[in-house]
């Protein structure tokens, strides 16, 4: 190396830096800096023109001051002067200053651009490189406007030096990222692809980065890069390590280039061409084989570079998700890394396996490593590695290993880092519920959770266990017994008292037969915790007591004494005081019958997705939660259901469930005690009802079903036989029996729709008292408005009448409205209920877009919760035209020539609802060989992706 004339004579700079380093205090440093700034300012402002050297020196000092963390608001002009200088050293410093301290001052930008323009035209490669580096570093829009047309020609010109080509490629890449619209596509793109064949590996490396970015933007234009990339990769992986000379890094041939090529290939599906495909597979196999060879060097750099390529190859294998053998090999390789002595490798292996766990081909293979992963959880010293192990256990969990995994996570929880405890609690709660075969295990697990990490058990978790116990008769007795035993512990967590209070209040009678848990013992046990608890818990316990009075008349007097005591009746907390007063009064004046009605056991909760999952998703943030369930139901944290509470009918006691927005009895309400008693615990059922969509009604025992409709229709089975046939079409026969045929004609525009319903009397006799009306579930009510015109009460034999339904979509929805029909035929009352084919996709407006737009948006909607994918067997012959018709019928625009694979279908559209519009992209990949489809939906809204995927997934 040349003896570096460090600072090349800028002694002033070196002295200044030394001064700063010698400053004893922060104050001294600031003082020195201010002195220097004043000096420089006066020099710049002075009358005497500064020579280039001084300017360079002062600009360098400013730069240094800036890098120390001080603000610099002058010197830009001098820097621009420098970069226009003919002296290389001055130019270089000028560019550096501009690159580090960009200023959007437009006058300045024009001057800078001018300097850059001159340098680009200079044909001096060193100057050109400086100019290109500056563009790449600043990458502003103004620069893109000025140079986006010029750089491609520099890049592909035959006489451009290699080093300039490299800079030009990456410069263009940066501009393409800042202002893709300004980078023109054109004839040069084809020539860029051929840079993959360039002699100079440095050029290939830079070009590969550029091509990858461009290919993400418009895959079609760069399709030819696939074969070139495979060829290049193949030459690299089979080369002897010395072939590539300086591009060999610690005995690994061109690791950076290999990684970039593998990354480029991840922009595309597996190659169509069989020969190419097998060549790529060979490459991947070679990379996997090399991992098994003994290392050529003991240096960590050797193993890092080799494994960097390996991990990228595994990413490609996972991306293709099509070669089971490769997937399993990848998994085995990662399995070896799990026990590697390098912490980095263990970390990466755990991370990578998480993605493998979600592939159907490798899920089982991942599961075989369970013991190693559990061991990692126990022995890893680095918390971030343990965190990866928890993630992987969560991802690999299924019914077969749930008990083991949950047990391990529970035991890890006792010593886990505080920062990740809450997340582990949520994960355990989810897995325990999801894979519970017997619910006694579930109850045990949650109680253990509360015992081990009570502080981290959020409301969602303990609400959920209560919901499940209430909904399942078989576990209630066990739950009562278990909480009773758990409460025996001298110190138990308040959350346990809450769960215990609630469950004993409901089901204490189930264990009261045993003298060891007689009513009085139960009560005393609960009451012994009372004074240690917070107000909400005490309120809950008071409600449990009044429930006890109903369950066990023999303890009535004892409980009344407690309620009557001053500490209750005169409690400073108004809530507690009110409960005590009202419960006491209720117990005194109400007859046993009334008491029994008021304090009846809680009815089952509607089945719905666990609120815990929503919580975990929120906590982990988008993109961080491995998908453990294909048919995850949809969680909506929406506020639109709040209207549900506005029910006005107060006559039916059961409806009280829906009436109460909170657990707080309103002081002015007519019978707050009753209300409070019915909602003993706290807000739990209601927060839940208010925050989550329940799933479509599945049985008559659900509240939604029973109370949303008139009593007659609730008992009728809803016909949905033809429902799914209407997903992709609007007209046809929806229902038919011996008497009646119902046909539909529908039209939709934006968020509005109109359905013409035709009722055809197939008999020769009149239908009398004919009526038909539409009902919607409570949740659907706020999402969809359906208005039905009235219809003539008589349908003559053989005649047809028409009814018009007007529909407005307010927000995205899942459920479907039900059409209820009643009429008399020959003296008997006929009841028919038909699920109306009003689905979310009906509100699609097709959107045409270019392939470039499509893929860009596709990429942007890449968060895991925005994408929903379904892989399924074809149920009909795989006919391209039929499929096209179905996709069009679904409502999206079918985009031709977007997907690199012509056999695939892609579509785009916008769902119109009154409140918002949701852009949707979809892609359907048929696999004729396997008779399978893969359907992928991406929208900005998870619930929409989910629903659309469900709907369309059943059509092929």
């Amino acid at each position: 190396m040349p003896t570096v004339s460090k600072g090349d004579g800028m002694r002033g700079l070196a002295v200044f830096i030394s001064d700063i380093r010698n400053c004893k205090s922060k104050e001294a440093e600031i003082k020195r800096i201010n002195k220097e700034l004043a000096n420089i300012r006066s020099k710049f402002k002075g009358d005497k023109a500064l020579d280039g050297y001084s300017k360079k020196k002062y600009v360098c000092k400013l730069l240094f001051i800036f890098l120390l963390g001080h603000d610099i608001d002058f010197g830009h002009m001098e820097a621009v002067n420098l970069l226009s200088s003919n002296k290389y050293t001055e130019k270089q410093i000028g560019y550096l200053f501009i690159s580090v301290l960009v200023n959007s001052n437009s006058d300045l930008i024009r001057l800078i651009n001018n300097g850059i323009k001159n340098d680009l035209a200079s044909r001096n490669p060193t100057f050109m490189n400086l100019a290109l580096h500056c563009i790449a570093n600043v990458g502003s829009r103004e620069m893109a406007e000025a140079f986006a047309f010029e750089i491609p020609s520099i890049l592909v010109a035959g006489d451009t030096m290699d080093s300039v080509k490299q800079s030009a490629a990456l410069c263009l890449l940066r501009l393409n990222r800042t202002s893709p619209d300004l980078v023109p596509m054109g004839e040069w793109t084809a020539r860029v692809v051929h840079l993959l064949n360039d002699q100079h590996l440095g050029v290939v490396t830079a070009a590969t980065s550029l091509i990858t970015t461009l290919a993400q933007k418009s895959p079609d234009d760069f399709k030819t890069s696939i074969s070139l990339a495979v060829a290049r990769l193949s030459r690299i992986v089979t080369s002897a390590s010395i072939d590539l000379q300086d591009y060999t890094y610690y005995f690994v041939a061109a690791p950076w280039l290999s990684v970039k090529l593998l990354r480029l290939l991840q922009c595309y599906p597996p190659p169509e061409d069989a020969a190419l495909r097998s060549r790529l597979t060979e490459c991947l196999e070679t990379i996997l084989n090399k991992a098994q060879e003994p290392p050529k060097s003991k240096k960590v750099q050797h193993s890092n570079a080799k494994n960097a390529v390996l991990f990228e190859a595994i990413s490609l294998i996972i991306h293709h998700d099509s070669e089971p053998t490769l997937l399993v090999r990848a998994c085995n390789q990662l399995g070896q890394f799990l026990q590697h002595r390098e912490t980095n490798l263990r970390y990466l292996a755990l991370e990578s396996m998480c993605t493998l766990a979600s592939s159907e081909f490798s899920h089982e293979a991942v599961k075989t490593h369970i013991d190693t992963v559990i061991n990692a959880l126990k022995t890893e010293r680095d918390v971030s590695v343990r965190q990866r192990a928890v993630d992987l256990l969560y991802a690999m969990c299924d019914r077969s290993n749930a008990k083991q995994i949950v047990a391990e996570m529970l035991s890890y929880l006792e010593t886990a880092d505080y920062s990740i405890r809450e997340e582990i609690v949520l994960k355990v709660a989810i897995l325990a519920e999801k894979y519970a075969v017997d619910y006694t295990w579930y109850v045990d697990t949650i109680l253990n959770l509360i015992r081990v990490a009570g502080d981290y058990v959020s409301e969602e978790v303990w609400y959920r266990v209560i919901q499940i116990v209430i909904n399942r008769d078989d576990v209630q007795g066990y739950a009562a017994k278990t909480v009773f035993e758990a409460l025996q512990a001298p110190a138990c967590h308040e959350n346990l008292v809450k769960v215990g209070g609630y469950i004993l209040g409901e089901f204490g009678n189930l264990i009261a037969g045993d003298s060891r848990s007689s009513p009085l013992v139960q009560f005393n046990l609960l009451h012994s915790k009372f004074h240690l608890c917070s107000v909400p818990t005490r309120a809950l316990l008071l409600s449990a007591y009044i429930k006890f009075i109903n369950l066990f008349p023999e303890v009535k007097a004892t409980i009344q004494d407690v309620l009557r005591s001053d500490s209750q009746l005169r409690n400073a907390d108004v809530e507690l005081q009110q409960r005590a007063v009202e419960y006491l009064k209720l117990s005194c004046i109400a007859s046993t019958d009334i008491l029994a009605t008021v304090l009846e056991e809680m009815p089952p909760f509607p089945e719905r997705e666990s609120s815990i999952l929503a919580k975990l998703k929120k906590k982990k943030g988008p993109g961080k939660l491995p998908d453990i369930d294909d048919n995850r139901r949809n969680v909506n944290g929406s506020s639109e259901h709040s209207e549900n509470t506005d029910t006005t009918s107060k006559s039916s006691p059961s409806l009280l469930e829906d009436l109460l927005p909170t657990d707080r009895p309103r002081p002015s309400s007519c019978s707050p005690a009753i209300l409070a008693a019915r909602t003993m615990a706290s807000a739990h059922p209601f927060t839940d009802i208010l925050n989550l969509n329940s799933t479509p009604s599945t049985g008559p025992n659900l509240l939604v079903d029973v109370f949303s409709d008139s009593s007659t229709s609730a008992s009728v089975d809803v016909s949905e036989d033809n429902f799914s046939r209407f997903v992709c079409k609007n007209n046809g026969v929806i229902y038919e029996n011996q008497l009646l045929q119902i046909g539909l004609k529908s039209e939709y525009r934006q968020n509005l729709g109109r359905i013409y319903v035709f009722y055809g009397n197939k008999t020769s006799t009149q239908f009398l008292s004919f009526s038909s009306f539409v009902t919607t579930s409570d949740i659907l009510k706020s999402q969809l408005n359906v208005h039905a015109k009235t219809v003539d009460p008589v349908i003559e034999g053989g005649a047809q009448v028409q009814q018009i339904l007007n529909i407005e979509c307010v927000s995205d929805f899942i459920d479907a409205p039900v059409l209820n029909i009643q009429f008399r035929y020959g003296g008997t009352l006929q009841n028919i209920a038909v699920k109306l084919p009003v689905m979310l996709n009906k509100f699609f407006q097709p959107t045409e877009m270019t392939s470039q737009d499509f893929f860009q948006r596709w990429k942007q909607l890449g968060a895991p919760q925005q994408e929903v994918q379904k892989i399924f067997k074809a149920q009909h012959p795989m006919d391209t035209d039929v499929t096209k018709a179905k996709i069009l019928g679904f409502g999206v625009a079918l985009l031709d020539g977007v997907d690199p694979n012509p056999a695939n279908f892609v579509g785009a559209g916008v769902i119109h609802t009154k409140s918002t519009q949701v852009g949707c992209l979809l892609r359907l990949e048929p696999n004729a060989q396997a008779q399978m489809y893969r359907l992928t939906l991406r929208t900005s809204r998870e619930s929409v992706s989910q629903r659309l995927c469900e709907l369309l997934g059943e059509q092929f």
Binding site: K6, D8, D181, G202, T205, E312, D382
Partner: protein, 206 residues
């Protein structure tokens, strides 16, 4: 007139997205932005060039986001940003990250999750080299990018130490620019990078 409304809405959303650096909020804004984009595109019945470009600006990904060199005492020695960020945000990121990395024990793994990014870091003598990459990026190769940069500095200065980088910060920048451009490796051959720097040094003599 009415078509101005979605336009305004879009612009204000965009501004919000620019200003708000909180990732969680940004994600939400992004999805709102996408909806707004669809709406606007729909109103005009054709995608608007300028809208798209603004749109891409926020959604396109960068390989390496930034590189920081700092000492064991937490003093920043070199910073290179490959994403446009305000000075305020840069300072905030630097402060947080320096703290996080310095708190880690020597035997811990070189990667950590931080905000939505992955941090790859390695300590050489008294200096920490720290890169931020995106979720999908390759950690190990980034670790070797750091190593190659250290090799380049070492070769150029002849057994480099922290002082070399303090007193010749501009050289450290020049070498970095020859090696990495726009967050991507430009030239991975040690010989070629040093040759380029050598030539530049020769020009200085002129």
């Amino acid at each position: 007139m009415h078509f101005l409304y979605p336009m305004c809405c879009f612009n204000s959303l965009l501004n919000l997205t620019c200003q708000n650096q909180n990732n969680y909020i940004q994600d939400h804004l992004k999805s709102a932005l996408f909806d707004a984009f669809c709406l606007t595109a729909d109103v005009f019945n054709r995608p608007l060039c300028s809208l798209i470009s603004l749109f891409f600006h926020f959604f396109s990904s960068f390989q390496m986001q930034f590189m920081l060199l700092f000492s064991r005492q937490g003093k920043l020695r070199l910073q290179k940003w490959y994403v446009p960020l305000s000075d305020k945000e840069k300072k905030k990121i630097t402060r947080e990250l320096v703290q996080t990395v310095l708190a880690r024990k020597p035997k811990m793994c070189s990667f950590l999750e931080w905000r939505d990014l992955k941090i790859v870091y390695k300590r050489y003598a008294s200096l920490y080299f720290c890169c931020a990459i995106e979720d999908q990026d390759n950690e190990l190769i980034t670790l070797e990018i750091i190593h190659r940069y250290v090799e380049l500095l070492d070769k150029y200065f002849g057994s480099v130490c922290e002082l070399d980088i303090i007193f010749n910060f501009e050289k450290a920048y020049f070498i970095l620019d020859e090696f990495l451009l726009g967050g991507e490796a430009q030239e991975t051959s040690k010989k070629n990078v040093l040759k380029a720097i050598e030539q530049a040094d020769l020009l200085q003599e002129v």
